[in-house]
């Protein structure tokens, strides 16, 4: 008899605790402004990532299509998985001296782990982390990017 009573009381206790849980759920049903969910694809216009968000490596260019990269290759050495390849070339300066310059700064987005070591190591601050995070493409080869824009050249006065 005692066991039966205990069994029935457990059933009622179970229902009681279920209702306690339901109370919290109900509270949030009627206070929808407390939700933190973002309607992602719809809010694309207003969505702003944090300044330090690591989306992809980009090279900043000025209005005159000038960048700060000297082609020193420190970012390539610091990259742990070989996502950066530097192809440099020799250029003649105005004084007739030979000087190393960047030909192509190749960045393999598909291999990048976004560890930020290249940006930390860059002595001139030529490369920074961009905020774009929508990287899906149909073809894998599109993930290999050349960071310096065609026809761009190094800004004046930048030294290694």
């Amino acid at each position: 008899m005692n066991a039966l009573f205990q069994y029935i009381s457990t059933v009622f206790k179970g229902i009681g605790t279920l209702l306690t849980g339901m109370k919290i759920t109900g509270k949030y049903v009627f206070t929808p402004w407390k939700h933190v969910t973002q309607q992602y694809p719809e809010n694309r216009e207003t969505l702003k990532m944090f300044d330090r968000f690591r989306g992809e490596v980009i090279m900043t260019h000025s209005e005159n299509n000038e960048h700060l990269c000297t082609g020193c290759g420190i970012c390539e050495i610091n990259c742990p998985n070989g996502s950066i390849e530097i192809i440099s070339k020799m250029e003649l300066t105005e004084e007739g001296k030979k000087k190393r310059a960047i030909d192509q700064h190749i960045y393999h987005l598909g291999m990048c782990t976004f560890c930020n070591l290249c940006i930390k190591a860059c002595p001139t601050g030529a490369i920074v982390m961009g905020q774009n995070f929508e990287h899906a493409v149909w073809d894998r080869s599109k993930l290999t990017k050349v960071l310096n824009q065609p026809g761009s050249k190094i800004a004046q006065g930048v030294k290694e």
Partner: protein, 377 residues
């Protein structure tokens, strides 16, 4: 299949009342690709043989080919829920080897980040624990609160999970100007939310029936199998590295090592909830007193460790995490070994679950808080 055949061939007599079932590698409650070879009699578990290595990524071997600062970003990928503690372990190990003294500010920042990671990890564990036992609601509530911590991480470190924030000699960036305000807001908010956790799950009779007196692990077994973290402390094994070998700012803060001797699933659950309170308490002590100063000491361009062996252990959300580096004086480590808490905890599963029903196995596995990349690494 060959293993199953082997077991049948080598057993003295074939138990016709027992059968072998593969739980996993694709099972929702193993939280990853983990295979348990379970020997069952009806619904009762007789023996469990875990098989690991499905997502072995060779991180230890990869470390031998890259330089010391580069090793850190790989540790993010092991126990991705305690990413910052793993980063810190490697950074501390390198700093100890080079005898670099980091600024006070770094110690404070690292400790706050540690405790935030622990909170985020326990929140995810809590919501998944509820989901494993059939309460889907908890899953959304835990993730909702975790989102605030991930926002804090994203603002200061630039990433949500793979932080790569601790570097040899300090941290990668200074804390964001909003950091302190955000953390304080979060603590205020989460102090209100934590009682909800208890109301939703801890007090639930169905949950208690399924966890109390289930999955007993004795103190002797916990020590013998090296079960650390809240799982070990639930059996009375005082193993908190933060207390016994304090690092960073832990010597400066007051906190309690939560211990219990009951050793069942519910105790392990309760200790983790209590640890969340303790973590909030630790952050509250530090957040207003972050000293001014540099956020990193200047290190050489190429970090070279002196010849020798170095070991550093830290307390992650799952237990004791150790980094063992053998250096031959070059810029790459000669050998790196990680002592991951998940691996040791997993193999005590047989001691806990033998004799219980297969549904209890899910509950027991849930309180071990397994992260499979941490086990396979």
């Amino acid at each position: 299949m060959s293993e199953i055949k082997e077991i049948i061939m080598h057993s003295d007599k074939i138990h016709t009342d027992e059968y072998l079932v593969n739980m996993g590698p694709q099972h929702p409650s193993t939280h990853g690709v983990l295979r348990l070879l379970v020997r069952l009699e009806g619904e009762i578990v007789h023996n469990i043989q875990p098989h690991v290595g499905y997502i072995h990524s060779g991180i230890e071997k990869m470390c031998e080919a890259i330089s010391y600062p580069q090793v850190i970003h790989l540790t993010d990928r092991m126990d991705y829920l305690s990413a910052h503690m793993n980063n810190e372990a490697v950074a501390l190990c390198i700093e100890n080897a080079l005898q670099v003294e980091v600024p006070e500010r770094v110690k404070y920042i690292r400790t706050i980040m540690d405790e935030l990671s622990r909170l985020a990890s326990h929140q995810l564990w809590w919501c998944v624990m509820g989901m494993d036992l059939g309460a889907l609601t908890t899953f959304f509530y835990g993730l909702r609160d975790r989102e605030h911590i991930l926002d804090i991480f994203e603002e200061t470190c630039g990433a949500r999970m793979t932080l790569n924030y601790s570097v040899p000699g300090g941290v990668m960036f200074d804390i964001h100007p909003n950091f302190q305000k955000r953390v304080k807001d979060f603590i205020k908010e989460f102090r209100k939310k934590l009682p909800e956790y208890d109301e939703l799950l801890t007090g639930n009779v169905i949950f208690q029936e399924r966890t109390k007196n289930i999955g007993y692990l004795s103190l002797e077994d916990a020590i013998a199998w090296g079960v650390t973290g809240p799982s070990g402390r639930g059996s009375g094994f005082s193993c908190d590295v933060r207390k016994h070998q304090p690092y960073s700012a832990y010597p400066l803060v007051q906190f309690e090592e939560k211990l219990d001797t009951k050793g069942d699933t519910f105790t392990r659950y309760r200790l983790r909830i209590e640890e969340m309170h303790e973590s909030l308490h630790i952050i509250e002590q530090l957040i207003d007193n972050i000293p001014e100063g540099d956020f990193a000491v200047k290190m050489k361009g190429v970090v070279k460790l002196p010849e020798g062996e170095f070991y550093q252990r830290v307390e992650t959300a799952r237990g004791e995490f150790g980094v063992y580096i053998v250096s031959d004086g070059k810029k790459n480590p000669y050998r790196v070994k990680f002592r991951s808490p998940g691996f040791s905890n997993l193999f005590a599963l047989n001691k806990m679950a033998a004799g219980h029903k297969i549904a209890d196995l899910v509950a027991i596995m849930s309180t071990l808080d397994l992260v499979i990349p941490d086990i396979d690494r």
